[in-house]
């Protein structure tokens, strides 16, 4: 009897030892390769969106190697699956940096995953490229934000709808999933709308849980809110998964774009691919990139993507462009710095320029955000989004919103004399 229990006890210990051995076995870095970490969920709820970005990075690494690699070395992508599990994101980030010794990481989609890995990147002084539109209110020394900040998406979109061309909207429904990105965006928009003289009773704010699938009540509320005699629009910050049932309900309840247009910040080509868009024609989306934009760089990118993924039906979207811009900038910065050392590359990143896929040039600013053009498009019946309006030039991404009093006073500038992500006075 005693023996059995001993055996079992020893097995427990053995498992612990095996665990320790795991870290040791893989901890070796070869000098002749440059490693790029890919930290996107390949399973779980976020796999829908993130898997595409993993493939995009693999495509660009492949492309880079075909063109002779980087600094004369081969580039190797290290893919891990954080499985839409936020603590696992932090664990995998640490594994990529400490065990696999990657030189840079491309990854994360949700805000919470970024928040989860942020301390890891700061502690180990590594570099993350974050390719998704987000709520701002952050600027880390170790993160480059290549997606849109609220002033590069939300504000221009609302300004467009307020304009004559956009329909002269007077009444606003701000509908979002209850998490930080919609909360922030709506807070900024609310302040912005009020500064434009919109009254309280003309703003309706509604939050829904993640993956909300029964939209009957909210859509009929929107319908009622829109029947008060003023032109009404819906600003949707509804998160990925819940969008399909939302749009299906919109279509079924017959809310057409010429009555109540819906402008979305989280709906791109990829989300629309899961939908029959015929009833949705004319609803809007605001991004920095649309697949439909006619541009040589874009055509080239789409061609490469189709060849890489082996499917001509696959779409491209804004976070892919953001990944592309980030990747190209990193490559240029590494070439300029002549090394993959994080501090050197960071310095080389500032002012780095890459051609947008939509024409013009994206520039990396010293607040770690990009200057990019803003596009507003209407959904077409083939699932594409056609541009109906774009900013004249580029808009500089703002880490700290001017419409939130606490953050309006903060400055983000990682060069001398400020050297900080959010402070009121220069550090030096």
């Amino acid at each position: 009897m005693l023996g059995l229990r001993k055996v079992a006890g020893i097995m427990t210990g053995a498992a612990m030892l095996a665990t320790s051995a795991l870290g040791l076995g893989t901890a070796q870095a070869a000098d002749d390769v440059i490693k790029v970490g890919v930290l996107h969920s390949l399973s779980g709820t976020m796999a829908i969106s993130e898997t595409t970005l993993k493939d995009a990075v693999l495509m660009m690494v492949d492309d880079l190697n075909k063109n002779g690699g980087l600094l004369g070395k081969k580039v190797e992508a290290v893919v891990v699956d954080p499985a839409s599990n936020w603590p696992l994101f932090a664990e995998k980030a640490r594994e990529l940096i400490e065990v696999d010794k990657v030189d840079v990481v491309f990854g994360c989609w949700t805000s919470v995953s970024r928040k989860s890995v942020l301390p890891v990147f700061e502690e180990l002084n590594s570099m993350l490229f974050y390719p998704v539109q987000y709520e701002g209110e952050e600027s880390s020394r170790n993160v480059f934000y290549t997606g849109a900040a609220p002033n590069q998406q939300a504000i221009p979109a609302v300004e467009y709808l307020m304009s004559e061309e956009g329909g002269d909207v007077k009444r606003w429904v701000l509908a979002g999933t209850d998490y930080v990105y919609p909360r922030t965006t709506n807070k900024i928009l609310e302040a912005f709308l009020k500064s434009k003289g919109v009254a309280d009773e003309d703003i309706m704010i509604s939050y829904t849980p993640f993956g909300h699938s029964d939209w009957q009540t909210i859509v009929s509320d929107i319908k009622k809110f829109g029947s008060e005699g003023k032109k009404t629009a819906v600003v949707s910050t509804i998160n990925g998964d819940a969008n399909v049932p939302f749009y299906k309900e919109l279509g079924n309840q017959g809310i057409v774009a010429s009555d109540i247009p819906v402008i979305a910040f989280s709906v791109g080509e990829e989300e629309l691919a899961g939908l029959d868009t015929a009833p949705l024609v004319g609803h809007l989306a605001a991004w920095n990139y649309f697949m439909s934009v006619e541009d040589e760089e874009n055509a080239e990118f789409i061609k490469k993507w189709h060849a890489f993924i082996g499917d001509d039906e696959r779409v491209t979207n804004d976070p892919m462009e953001a990944t592309y811009i980030g990747f190209q900038m990193w490559v240029q910065a590494v070439k300029q710095a002549g090394t993959t050392d994080v501090d050197a590359v960071r310095q080389a990143m500032y002012g780095q320029e890459v051609k947008n896929l939509t024409g013009g040039t994206a520039v990396m600013n010293t607040n770690h955000h990009l200057s990019k053009p803003v596009l507003i498009g209407e959904i077409q019946d083939d699932g594409q989004i056609e541009t109906v309006w774009r900013t004249d030039g580029v808009v500089k991404g703002d880490a700290w919103s001017d419409f939130i009093p606490e953050s309006a006073k903060l400055t983000s500038d990682w060069t001398y004399p400020f050297v900080c992500g959010g402070c009121e006075k220069a550090m030096f």
Partner: protein
């Protein structure tokens, strides 16, 4: 977390009263508690025997999962209560710790507000909600780590066990409980940071959370907590109370008719288990650096049950082993086979149920028993803890 030194007296007799396997288990824990820090600090990095700090935190995380699994095993393996919502107690303990860590940030948040965490500043809150008071003090926070899961378990158990909700009905309402809590914590209006939860912690008791020393300290605390949880659990299961619990597990009505107040026994062990889960959560949070509502998700709780089943239900170290093994597998395969690891994990679960019905520990015990029987003749019986139903 210094339980061992202050309460050493009674525990000495507890330890000596343990069966041999238990001592071995505690011994291994002790060795791990000594060897891991030593090899992390003293062995040079190039050596094969060096344990990197990364691994220390990971092991610490596994240990807190192991404690959670232990707490589930205590009620499921020994009392037949299948809780599909134990992640709720774990997460509540974690949130209590997270609130303490949040308050320790002080004015180092991005908005530099000394009183309010960033997310509250952001939601335009002007003062700390009442339920956050006191969480800046470590002892208060630690009390809450124990009290909050304990009280919730008490209230929940009080109603459920007295109403004689049993079996799968109980499992499903525990699931409803954790699901409701998850939705509630997702709400930004609740004042717990919504979906992002609590993160960006700086220090604990004045020690920098990112320093290697603190990590080792937390690791050692986790080992001690696991040992402590193990001692309590085995004390309960070895006592007369434990016999009654097993009786309840095997034939609840008969036990009741024998004159035992079944509901009080169940309530007691349920509360103890919830408190252990809460402590596990409190240890988990500083080591992974984030707590958010996804810890409440029913899937997470189901997974804990699966760790226990893989390791061996009704064997305390089986639960520990299962938790370690499954989580290690998860860590390893999400890195090594990112596209196929779910096949491995799913396959493991199916394989375990089909071929190792008593879990790894239980089944290997039966095998060894068989081998022994072949040697000595069919004299001994299968030990009580591997029998079920």
């Amino acid at each position: 977390m210094d339980f061992s030194s202050t309460k050493k007296g009674p525990f000495v007799s507890l330890v000596t009263g343990l069966p041999g396997g238990g001592k071995t288990f505690l011994g291994i824990l002790l060795v791990a508690a000594l060897l891991v820090p030593l090899s992390n600090l003293l062995v040079p990095e190039s050596s094969f025997f060096h344990v990197p700090t990364y691994m220390v935190s990971l092991l610490g995380k596994y240990l807190s999962f192991a404690l959670l699994a232990l707490s589930v095993d205590l009620i499921w393996g020994y009392c037949g209560i299948l809780s599909l919502g134990h992640g709720a107690f774990f997460a509540l303990g974690g949130y209590a710790m997270g609130m303490y860590l949040m308050r320790q940030i002080g004015d180092r948040g991005v908005y530099g507000n000394p009183d309010l965490p960033d997310f509250m500043v952001f939601l335009n809150w002007t003062e700390l909600p009442w339920y956050w008071t006191g969480f800046d003090m470590f002892p208060v926070a630690m009390t809450m780590v124990i009290l909050v899961p304990g009280i919730l378990a008490f209230i929940f158990g009080w109603f459920a066990f007295r109403a004689r909700v049993t079996g799968v009905y109980l499992s499903i309402i525990t699931q409803a409980m954790t699901y409701a809590l998850m939705l509630a914590f997702f709400r930004n209006d609740m004042g717990f940071g919504g979906n992002n939860g609590l993160t960006d912690f700086k220090e604990i008791l004045g020690f920098d959370l990112q320093s290697d020393g603190t990590r080792l300290g937390l690791f050692v605390c986790s080992v001690i907590a696991l040992a402590f949880g193990y001692l309590i659990s085995s004390f309960i299961t070895q006592s007369k109370l434990g016999r009654v619990l097993i009786a309840i597990r095997d034939a609840e009505s008969r036990t009741r008719f024998s004159g035992y107040r079944v509901e009080y026994y169940k309530l007691f062990v349920f509360v103890v288990s919830a408190v252990l889960a809460g402590i596990a959560g409190a240890l988990y949070v500083p080591q992974v650096g984030i707590i958010n509502p996804s810890e409440f998700s029913p899937a997470q709780s189901i997974e804990v049950v699966i760790w226990v089943a893989v390791g061996g239900r009704g064997t305390l170290w089986g639960a520990v082993l299962g938790a370690m093994l499954v989580n290690w597998g998860k860590s390893y395969f999400t890195g090594a086979l990112p596209e196929a690891w779910l096949y491995m994990l799913g396959g493991l679960f199916v394989f375990t149920t089909l071929f190792l019905p008593k879990g790894i520990v239980g089944t290997s015990a039966i095998w060894i028993e068989k081998i022994k029987n072949r040697q000595t003749g069919p004299a001994s019986t299968i030990p009580a803890y591997v029998k079920e139903e």
